[in-house]
């Protein structure tokens, strides 16, 4: 009787011990999994929050972008070059300058970087007019860069300049 009771108690003790060890192991693994899941959820929720933050200001960004793009706001990618040339023509005419020998070119961009439109043009006219023309170019071509300006000798106060401009080929699709 005592032997049977003793072996039974030993068996119960072993079962208890194995159960506790198993529970501890499960608990550790469960806690680790719980933490990883929670961290992942917090990370994705933070990312989603940032997305919502961006989308919340979408209209404002669009308005500011349209304002920054100016006359090119409604110009598509394929018409950007022609719109730029028209803008330069209008500026030159307003300053009494003669815009000639236009040679546009284009390079493709990579990834999220837009391509580049390059414009070579010859300007003829008074120096003061060329100065004002240069100052007003960004109004017609937002994002324009002045690559080079070469002055050619002229007579009677007239200046001839070779102008090279570059403009990001904004893809607004």
């Amino acid at each position: 009787m005592s032997e049977r009771v003793s072996s039974r108690m030993v068996l119960i003790a072993v079962v208890w011990l194995l159960t506790v060890m198993g529970l501890v192991w499960l608990g550790q693994g469960g806690v680790g999994l719980w933490n990883r899941q929670t961290e992942e959820l917090m990370a994705v929720r933070e990312r989603l929050s940032r997305v919502h933050g961006w989308l919340a200001v979408e209209q404002e960004v669009a308005a500011r972008e349209a304002e920054a793009m100016g006359p090119l706001a409604r110009v598509g990618r394929s018409e950007l070059m022609w719109a730029s040339l028209e803008g330069l023509q209008a500026l030159a005419g307003a300053q009494g300058l003669f815009l000639n020998d236009l040679r546009p070119s284009e390079t493709a961009g990579g990834g999220r970087r837009p391509g580049t439109i390059r414009l070579d043009a010859r300007l003829e006219g008074p120096l003061a007019g060329i100065g004002k023309f240069l100052q007003q170019i960004p109004d017609k071509m937002p994002g324009v860069r002045l690559e080079s300006l070469q002055f050619l000798p002229q007579e009677k106060g007239q200046v001839q300049a070779l102008l090279r401009l570059s403009l990001p080929a904004w893809d607004r699709s």
Binding site: I12, L23, G30, L33, W34, Q37, T38, E40, L41, V44, R45, R47, L48, V51, H52, W54, L55, V57, E58, V61, A62, R64, E65, A68, M69, R112, L127, G131, L134, Q135, I137, P138, P142, G143, V144, R145, L146, E147, S148, L149, Q150, F151, L152, P153, P168, W170
Partner: protein
């Protein structure tokens, strides 16, 4: 020694004798108030047949209104041997051992076949007067076995005589029986249980079988008992007698004549008149036969203190304790398993919710990704345009500075941007002096960090100097 807990308690008392089976259940609250729950008795024709007794008792137990709870079995005085000893010790364990030693050899069975209960009655000089009650072990085990098979777990086996005395005492709540020595008498069909109580505690017990039914026989029996008690010298003279049981067959005025015969006050204990359960017994008494007395069972459930005699074997107590430990262990294990299951289910549900929420958030991010990209591109466009405007404005300032500081005679030919911040200037000057003056004028402009002459070449035809400068603006 056993004590009842202070909380509400259910007590069941059972008596299994040759005449039949009696069962009583009551509830005691923390204030000591007792409520009867059930009281049953059945005669068993095959009283010696254990199976019949078990079956009858099981049926009675199943009809109880509540589970048994604490269960006390009762043994009759005719089933035990009593002795009064004077032992030279006061230690309870030593008294037990000495009593066993002295009783050995004087019993009809061996000491191993006995269950003994020793109750100290009081000091007698340097010794202790004890009441020794010895029962035949098979009788006790038979009672335990019958009860176990009827789903009753006995927590003690008490003396019916002592229980009757407790019942008589409960019917006198004024405590009139506490101080004196009084004789409690329970009259049955043809036998009498007698017990002498000192200060409320049993000190002498006697069983008389085959008593005649008339008053003279009863008086003679009581007289013999009183003399036997006085002979044992266990206490003072008996002051009064309380009597209960089959008194209906006695003629009117019998108790008054008994008083005269004994020379003692005789009080009848009538449960219908002065018991704590007057209302309950008034209802129950109509349902049972008048020849059945419940005085012993009522005494068990009413007793406020300990029942001194207990014949439950030690090994039965040990086995019951072990079973209780295993039962509690199983309950604890079940509770732990349930808790772990609930916890696991909760954790699983929680993790499933987190997983689904994560997937949902990922899906939403993917859905909004295209829109986000458009917005971010527009923001980049705004930033790029702003940067380009700033750079273009600087370039215009650079051109303005280069043109502004041109000395007379110097002709600007080329202005170009080399890299992000170097302005290359080519011009023609009449002579080197003009170039030097121009360079000094440019260096005097706070716009430029460095002004460096890269090259200067004299034109052979006109004698003018072509030169190239590199201008680095300040950041």
């Amino acid at each position: 020694m056993r004590s009842f807990s202070q909380a509400t308690q259910r007590i069941t008392a059972v008596s299994v004798r040759s005449g039949g089976v009696k069962l009583l259940q009551a509830r005691r609250d923390s204030k000591g108030s007792v409520t009867l729950l059930g009281m049953k008795a059945r005669q068993v024709h095959e009283a010696s047949d254990e199976e019949s007794l078990t079956r009858v008792l099981r049926e009675m137990v199943e009809s109880l209104p509540e589970p048994p709870g604490e269960t006390v079995g009762l043994f009759s005085s005719d089933a035990v041997v009593t002795r009064y000893l004077s032992l030279p010790s006061q230690d309870p364990d030593e008294l037990q051992a000495m009593a066993l030693y002295q009783m050995e050899g004087s019993l009809p069975y061996s000491i191993e076949q006995c269950v003994v209960s020793v109750k100290p009655l009081g000091p007698m000089g340097e010794a202790t007067r004890v009441l020794v009650v010895v029962a035949h072990r098979p009788d006790i085990e038979r009672l335990i076995r019958i009860c176990q098979r009827a789903n009753l777990r006995l927590t003690s086996v008490a003396s019916a005589t002592e229980a009757v005395g407790r019942w008589h005492q409960a019917c006198w709540p004024e405590g009139a029986l506490d101080a004196a020595a009084w004789l409690a008498v329970e009259v049955s069909e043809d036998e009498i249980d007698l017990g002498v109580f000192l200060n409320g505690s049993l000190s002498y017990m006697r069983h008389v079988s085959h008593v005649g039914g008339d008053l003279q026989d009863l008086a003679a029996c009581l007289e013999e008992t009183i003399q036997a008690y006085e002979k044992e010298r266990v206490g003072p003279k008996i002051a009064r007698v309380t009597i209960s049981g089959r008194l209906d067959r006695m003629a009117p005025g019998a108790l008054e004549r008994l008083e005269v015969l004994l020379g003692l006050a005789v009080h009848r204990v009538d449960p219908l008149e002065r018991s704590p359960f007057k209302d309950a017994l008034a209802v129950t008494a109509k349902e049972i036969a008048p020849e059945i007395s419940f005085s012993d069972l009522l005494g068990v459930v009413c007793v406020p203190r300990l029942l001194g005699l207990d014949l439950l074997p030690l090994e039965t107590r040990v086995e019951q304790a072990r079973q209780s430990v295993f039962r509690q262990g199983r309950w604890l294990l079940a509770l732990l398993a349930l808790t772990m299951t609930v916890l696991a289910v909760w954790v699983g549900l929680r993790m499933a919710c987190v997983f689904l929420a994560t997937r949902q958030a990922h899906a939403e991010v993917l859905t909004l990704q295209a829109q986000l990209t458009r917005v971010q591109r527009k923001a980049e466009t705004i930033q790029a345009i702003g940067t380009a405007r700033d750079l273009y404005a600087r370039q215009i300032r650079w051109i303005g500075s280069a043109v502004q500081h041109l000395p007379p005679g110097v002709t600007l030919q080329f202005l170009g941007m080399e890299g992000e911040g170097v302005v290359v200037l080519r011009a023609v000057a009449p002579d080197l002096t003009m170039i030097t003056a121009y360079s000094a004028a440019l260096r005097g402009d706070l716009l430029w960090a460095t002004v460096a002459l890269r090259a200067a070449r004299v034109q052979t035809e006109q004698g003018k100097v072509e030169f190239e400068m590199a201008l680095s603006p300040k950041q």
